[in-house]
Symmetry: C2
Subunit: 173 residues, 2 copies
């Protein structure tokens, strides 16, 4: 296994800053671009990341670290951000995400996790037993999958405009 | 066609800031992670983007906009950054990219391109005739393809650690 808290925290704490530099003040066309009905745009993704800070990453880590037998997680609501983000500006969501993420990463570091802690388990509603290491590695990969998703969604806006270069741009495939 | 200079410039000018927030001070493990021999890591990508500013995006646009018959582009050297980046820190490369990109975007805006300009052509060494619109739309999609690439490469570092979540993380597929 490769996961280490220090390198994971370094990447996690950067995500709000990356998204702020990318999205703040960007023309609405880019922010609202999606891959069609039922798919997410950049605004939706920030709301989804906020919901993860509130209900998934640290809360589930705390469930895993609680004493006694492995406990079952509450299922994650993938649509919760649609109601939670309603009426909020992208700038407000970026601020909220930055505040929550900073607190989450501080908490992660404060756990001072041992290898034995990383092997502790919780019960995922779908997967069954999962380790804290798997959960925390997923937190990092989940940030990265959404960064890649947004880059892909935005690139598709020019999918026709690029003409013959389409063959060389992996993000358009 | 969707391409517009103003919205394209807004995204292009953000890329150096996004990469700086992401990479500056990040543990070396993330920066040097690649997908194996012959593939690029984050450091290589910044060098590649620098080479594009110097030899591709604005230089080819100027060839297309020059008077007379469409002219042939000089082939782009995909390996040039290995020599050009040698001995330079990632911080130096990020600074160089930021400086070059700012100048490129200023030049793009100063062209004050008309639709007729965007329909002008150059001769790509492989594709044959390409329009300025295609070339400039590719500049944007090219930034995004490399952002997605880096997110994918970094996520793969934890490809085994995430356990059963792998099935849900599109970036790991």
């Amino acid at each position: 296994m490769t996961y280490r808290v220090d390198e994971a925290a370094a990447l996690l704490e950067r995500t709000p800053r990356v998204l702020r530099e990318w999205f703040a003040g960007l023309p609405e066309e880019w922010i609202r671009e999606s891959e069609g009905p039922g798919t997410w745009n950049a605004y939706d993704v920030v709301g989804h990341l906020i919901h993860g800070e509130r209900t998934d990453w640290i809360p589930r880590a705390e469930i895993i670290l609680s004493k006694g037998e492995p406990q079952r997680f509450t299922p994650f609501d993938r649509d919760a951000m649609f109601a939670a983000s309603a009426g909020k500006s992208l700038g407000e969501l970026l601020d909220t995400f930055a505040t929550l993420r900073a607190a989450s990463v501080a908490r992660l570091r404060a756990f001072a996790l041992t290898d034995a802690d990383l092997d502790r388990r919780g019960i995922h509603p779908e997967f069954g037993p999962v380790t804290l290491r798997q959960h925390l590695a997923t937190w990092v990969a989940h940030d990265l999958t959404h960064i890649a998703q947004i880059a892909r969604v935005m690139a598709k806006r020019y999918g026709a405009d690029v003409g013959p270069w389409k063959a060389y741009l992996s993000v358009l495939k």
